[in-house]
Amino acid sequence: MARKPQEDPKAEMTPMIDVVFQLMIFFIVTIKQEDIFSKLNANRPAPNASSSESVENDTQIKIDIGPGGMVFNGRGVSLRELDRNIKKLSATSKKATVLVRCTLDSPHMYLVQALDTCNKYGMYNLSIFSM
């Protein structure tokens, strides 16, 4: 790669190419940013044990999750409607236990959305059941 000295009038290209490569690699590396992740905590009661913890709070909020979406109070709700309902309920008590009951064929996204909505309004007492 080291060139012999020459009396050529054209400029030496090697260092420039090197620098350009360095810059290119630098930008390729920095452009690739990482996602920022969050975690949503929830409790998983043991499969066939009646959890004594959830009985302490008499106010239980139930969110059902099916293959097509979320059901709240026996009515299918969109994420926005769920958001509104949880907001209302969180105003009275943030300590209430939220039971999220999922059917086995529901996609994971609805569960995450439901947990995220509860987190949004400070309800951290979440339990997940499977049906």
């Binding site: 790669m1 080291a2 060139r3 012999k4 000295p5 030496e12 090697t14 260092p15 090197d18 490569f21 360095q22 690699i25 630098f26 590396v29 690739k32 940013q33 990482e34 996602d35 920022i36 992740f37 969050s38 975690k39 949503l40 905590n41 929830a42 409790n43 998983r44 009661p45 043991a46 499969p47 999750i65 999922c102 059917t103 086995l104 064929d105 529901s106 996609p107 994971h108 996204m109 569960l111 995450v112 959305q113 947990l115 995220d116 909505t117 987190n119 949004k120 997940i128 499977s130």
Partner: protein, 149 residues
């Protein structure tokens, strides 16, 4: 930076060597970052309001269980059977107690059946406190919304 090669000095021209070394250093820095032990096929649902996860601060006791779209359960890109997963969870519990951070990274399309299976294994081992990993701020490729604005 470019030395004139015309001098009759005994010392070698260092510039190309330094360039190559720089290239190598950058190469290794980049590849080290890439060999993140994750199932990269997993696309996560958004979770803007969860607790922010800072990748550097994760304690060594944490366990991140990957659940792919087709239900494949893996740890650090190693596929596990249910028995092996139970074994791993038990090991963690024996070492750090039941409160170690146990996180489930499941694809947004994963059926709850597979997630429930993992949760049941953890619960059966006495680990009830689980967390789900979601994307707080999408910048990379892990979000389900990656690539579309």
């Amino acid at each position: 930076m470019a030395k004139k090669p015309k001098n009759e000095d005994v010392s070698l021209d260092m510039t190309p060597m330094i360039d190559v070394v720089f290239q190598l250093i950058i190469f290794f820095v980049v590849t080290l970052k890439m060999s993140d032990d994750k199932d990269t096929t997993i696309k996560l649902e958004d979770g803007k309001y969860g607790i922010t996860l800072t990748q550097d601060e994760l304690p060594p006791s944490q366990l991140t269980i990957d659940v792919a779209r087709n239900g494949r359960v893996s740890l650090s890109n190693m596929t596990l059977t249910d028995q092996m997963l139970a074994q791993k969870v038990k090991e963690r519990k024996a070492r750090y107690g039941a409160d170690f951070p146990c996180m489930i990274r499941a694809d947004y399309r994963t059926k709850h059946r597979d997630v429930a299976r993992v949760m049941n294994i953890c619960a059966a081992c006495g680990v009830w406190k689980l967390s789900f990993v979601a994307v707080q701020e999408a910048k990379g490729s892990m979000s389900r919304h990656a690539g579309k604005k």
